[in-house]
Structures are given as structure tokens and as C-alpha cells.
């Protein structure tokens, strides 16, 4: 038994496609078996809603009269990068405001734009014959700009880590506040709902895959930065640490603040909660094996963030059911667990995407190119002293 993207899309157009969420497929597969489940179900919707630092937006402001070639740009006092054409800029989610520090940054500007709020644009120019203006200040809204689209270089991680802290002081990390002496542990994945955990070898997700992004339809643009297929996997094929990831893009003008939210992580920095949903076609029986994996069958490794080195000590392995119970054992000690990624919101996204497909508003797109089959990131080796040259 096998189905193609085209056959599934035909069913979607005719309103006959059977769509379930990545949570619902677990019970369907248990009750009916893989063979029957593969025959019955056409699409499984996966989702995640967590802080994703490698996010940001390209914006084209349009041309003023007289025109300006923007050399430096600020949005609500948050610097954006404008080393591209005259009135294009890239606003990174983690960029900090120059007057409000960690309370406001790029992520907040993106959220404010989506919310339809006025944003203060300030730019310094580099006057030339065709771009005479040297400075500009005005207020803009999302409606005023030509394009504003998210281009996120690393989202939707396939699994992540459990973070804990063995040191004797509280530390503040991108994994939240970690209390001393292994008192707590945080994790950041939607587990059984998470997109790349349900298609661990990326059979159906590639460049060009149409997705749910921030409440709009978006796309997989490329492999995510630090993409890694070579991490250790458990017998069921699931990597036990952060492995593959995706570069995503989508139109900010179609998004909603329910699924894109700025985050200020205490004593660490600014990030952006991004809601991502990916539909996975049930092409054959083999896919059910991964699609039906439950929290109990998805494992993740625990790392000690109390050691601020590139290689942190590995303190063991747990599954997501254990993590969700609120307590895990780390080396004989009981640590309280807490998520950083909202399972509740992920579940909602999986339901919304399911609704779109059932209504015929969203068809699946086969990848135009696969993501790399074997790839692992390199490291940065420091070869010269600060202030030294590369000769």
C-alpha cells in the first residue's frame, strides 16, 4: 500500500482526506495496527510552539522623497541590519533595544508589527547623488511597508536537550533559570507532536514544503543552520539530542500574535516564540512507525549547563513522558522538570492545520529538493589572538 502526494491532494480537493494530529495517530495505530492506519489516514499534522532565537524579518520600507540610502536603521530603537540595498533591512529577533535592554528587542518589534501597532523608524543615510537624504524619522505600520517576511535560519529543531545545573549557584540560560545542585531541569520540545521527530529521516519534509508558520502559510526554505543528521539515534530512529532543523519563511502580513510572540528570557536575552505546523503525508505503512511514536518512546539526553564549555557533561537519558510527569532522577537526585515550549499551543496549531486541510484550504507540497542525507556542523577553532591578523 502506498500513496503519492498527488493522490492525497486529490482527496483533499474532494474533501475526502482523512487528517489526524500527531497525538491522535498514536491511538489510531495502536487500535488498528500500522497497515490499517496507513490505509485509513492520509495526513498527520505535527506542530511546535517554542522560543526560536534564529528568527528575524526582512523588511522593505519603500522609498522616501527625496530618497535615502539607509546605512543604519532602528525600529523602536532596536537596530536592524541594512547592509543590503537602500531601503531593505533584516531585523533579528534577538537584537536588543538601545534604551530598554532586555525588556524589548527585535522579537518585540516583530510582534508589534503583526499586532498592527505604529513602529518608529529611524535611519541614517550615506548621501550620494541619487540618494541625497542623510537622515529620516517616521512611523510605520505593517501595512505601510512593501514586504515584511520572516526568514528564520534555524527553527523546529528535531529534539533538543534537557538542561540542568550541577553548580552551586543559580544560572540564567536560554534554557531558562537553572537552580543549583540539580534542583530543576528544563526541556524544549513538543515531543510526540514535534514535526521532525515524526519524520526522523526527513522523507517528506524538504525544501519547498508548505507549512503553518505563525498563523499563516509558510515554507521550508533551506536546511537550518547547524543542521546535523549524525547525532546518536535510539533504535526507533529518533535522535536523542538537537539534530536536524529547518530554515523557514513566511509573510508577516498574514501572521497573528497568537502564534508569534516575543520572549524576554531573564538575564539571558530576547527570543521569539514561533508557532510551526507541518503536515506529514502517510505515503506508506513504514511512515506509521515514526508517526505513531509517543512521548514514552521519544528519548532525550540531559546536559549539565553548569559547565560553560562547548562539550557539556552528559548526565543521562530520559523520555518525554518522564519529563512531563514533573520529576526525573538525575544521578540519584530528584529534579523538578519544566518545559519551555508550549505543548498546549502546539496542540492547538496541529488542530488548526488539520482544519485547513479538511476544508481544502491547504494542500500538501512535495519537496522540490531533499535536505542533506548526511551532514554535521563544524566548530569554530580560535587560531589567532584578539587584535591579531590572519597572515
Amino acid at each position: 500500500m502506498s500513496k503519492t502526494f498527488d493522490e492525497i491532494n486529490q482527496k483533499i480537493r474532494e474533501g475526502r482526506a482523512v487528517v489526524v494530529t500527531a497525538e491522535e495517530i498514536i491511538d489510531v495505530a495502536r487500535e488498528k495496527g500500522a497497515k490499517e492506519a496507513a490505509k485509513m489516514v492520509d495526513v498527520v499534522t505535527t506542530a511546535t510552539f517554542g522560543p526560536m532565537c534564529s528568527s528575524g524579518a526582512f523588511i522593505n520600507f519603500g522609498h522616501s522623497d527625496p530618497p535615502i540610502k539607509m546605512r543604519k536603521v532602528w525600529l523602536n530603537n532596536v537596530p536592524a541590519y541594512t547592509g543590503i540595498a537602500a531601503v531593505d533591512a533584516y531585523l533579528g529577533a534577538t537584537e536588543m533595544s538601545e534604551d530598554r535592554g532586555l525588556d524589548y528587542g527585535g522579537g518585540h518589534v516583530i510582534e508589534d508589527l503583526i499586532a498592527g501597532k505604529q513602529v518608529k523608524l529611524k535611519a541614517i543615510g550615506f548621501p550620494t547623488d541619487c540618494y541625497p537624504l542623510d537622515e529620516i524619522e517616521t512611523c510605520i505600520t505593517l501595512n505601510d511597508v512593501n514586504q515584511a517576511y520572516l526568514y528564520n535560519s534555524r527553527n523546529a529543531y528535531q529534539n533538543y536537550f534537557v538542561a540542568t545545573n550541577s553548580s552551586d549557584r543559580t544560572i540564567y540560560t536560554y534554557m531558562g533559570t537553572l537552580l543549583p545542585k540539580l534542583a530543576n531541569a528544563t526541556y524544549c520540545s513538543a515531543g510526540q507532536l514535534s514535526p521532525l521527530l515524526k519524520d526522523p529521516y526527513l522523507r517528506t519534509i524538504g525544501i519547498g514544503t508548505k507549512i503553518f508558520l505563525g498563523g499563516a502559510q509558510g515554507f521550508v526554505s533551506f536546511e537550518g543552520t547547524q543542521f546535523n543528521t549524525e547525532k546518536e539515534r535510539t533504535e526507533n530512529g529518533v535522535p536523542t539530542t538537537a539534530a536536524a532543523c529547518l530554515a523557514l519563511s513566511g509573510d508577516l502580513k498574514d501572521m497573528t500574535t497568537r502564534y508569534i510572540k516575543a520572549a524576554s528570557i531573564h538575564n539571558y536575552g530576547i527570543s521569539l516564540f514561533v508557532g510551526v505546523g507541518i503536515p506529514i503525508p502517510v505515503l506508506d505503512e513504514d511512515m506509521i512507525e515514526h508517526l505513531s511514536l509517543s512521548d514514552e518512546e521519544i528519548c532525550v539526553d540531559i546536559y549539565d549547563y553548569g559547565v560553560a564549555r562547548r562539550s557539556r557533561p552528559n548526565l543521562g537519558r530520559v523520555n518525554y513522558k518522564e519529563l512531563k510527569s514533573g520529576k526525573i532522577k538525575i544521578g540519584g537526585k530528584i529534579a523538578s522538570t519544566a518545559p519551555l515550549s508550549s505543548y498546549a499551543r502546539a496542540k492547538e496549531i496541529a488542530e488548526v492545520l488539520k482544519g485547513w486541510i479538511q476544508k481544502g484550504d491547504f494542500e500538501l507540497s512535495a519537496p522540490v529538493a531533499s535536505l542533506p542525507k548526511h551532514k554535521k556542523p563544524t566548530t569554530l577553532e580560535v587560531r589567532s589572538k584578539v587584535g591579531g591578523s590572519c597572515d
Binding site: P51, G176, T177, L178, H266, G326, A338, L340, A344, R345
Partner: protein
């Protein structure tokens, strides 16, 4: 025996008074000081759990008010804007008494006020800035 958690705000002129000693000695209350601090503006603040018969707690609170101490029920002082909450879980990582926890079924955040000791750690931990301690 009843337990009651209160937040006491001491005016500057009262900071020197041994008020908790009086509560024990004259009203026979069992006290558990959960938090105490003196602020720059020279007011003192204490989160206190009182334990004893209802009448003794009532009389003790009346005495505090006589002394010019402002008394409010502790749990009223934490405000969580639940409509804005995304149930991420960041706050649950620092909530030792488990006043903030995710529902087993829905995975949505619950705030169980009676467990809260007003430590304030959740205020900073919330990435959306929607938890506020009001004194």
C-alpha cells in the same frame, strides 16, 4: 486551627518595633516568616503565615492594623494575565512550592494560589512579562 498567609507592610516609624514577638507572646500564634525585606523607601515588608484559632488570627491582625501596619492577604498580590499566557512553562521551572504547574491533561498553566509563597521568582522567569507581584 487555621492557617492564613498575609503580606505586612510596615511604615518607616514601625520598623524598629518587635511586632512578630508580640504576635507570638500576646496572641499565641505560630508564625512562619516566608519572606522579609526592607525597601529603599524605608518601608518594611514581610510575608507571614499565621497559624492558630480563627479568633486569635483575627485579634492578631487587628493589633497589627492598630500599629499602623498594612495587612493584605498574600495571594491577592500575584497577578497572572492568564488570557495572554501561552503555557510555555518557563515559570514552572522556578516555582519550588508548585503554585504554578501545568495541567496533566491539557498542559495549560494553573496557578494554585494557596501554594504561593510570593517569592517573586516567576515574575522574572515569565518571558512574556505577564506575571506581576502587587504589594
Amino acid at each position: 486551627m487555621t492557617k492564613k498567609k498575609v503580606v505586612l507592610t510596615f511604615p518607616a516609624e514601625n520598623i524598629e518595633q518587635p511586632i512578630t514577638y508580640r504576635l507570638v507572646k500576646d496572641f499565641d500564634l505560630i508564625l512562619n516568616i516566608l519572606r522579609a525585606e526592607i525597601h529603599e523607601e524605608e518601608t518594611g515588608r514581610m510575608v507571614l503565615e499565621l497559624e492558630g484559632p480563627d479568633k486569635a488570627i483575627e485579634d492578631g491582625i487587628a493589633y497589627l492594623k492598630d500599629q499602623g501596619v498594612d495587612v493584605t492577604e498574600a495571594a491577592r498580590d500575584i497577578e497572572l494575565d492568564i488570557d495572554e499566557c501561552v503555557s510555555c512553562g518557563f515559570c514552572t521551572a522556578v516555582c519550588r512550592p508548585r503554585a504554578l504547574q501545568l495541567d496533566d491533561e491539557t498542559r495549560e498553566l494553573n496557578f494554585i494560589k494557596e501554594n504561593c509563597i510570593l517569592c517573586g521568582l516567576c515574575v522574572k522567569a515569565c518571558p512574556l512579562g505577564i506575571i506581576k507581584v502587587k504589594f
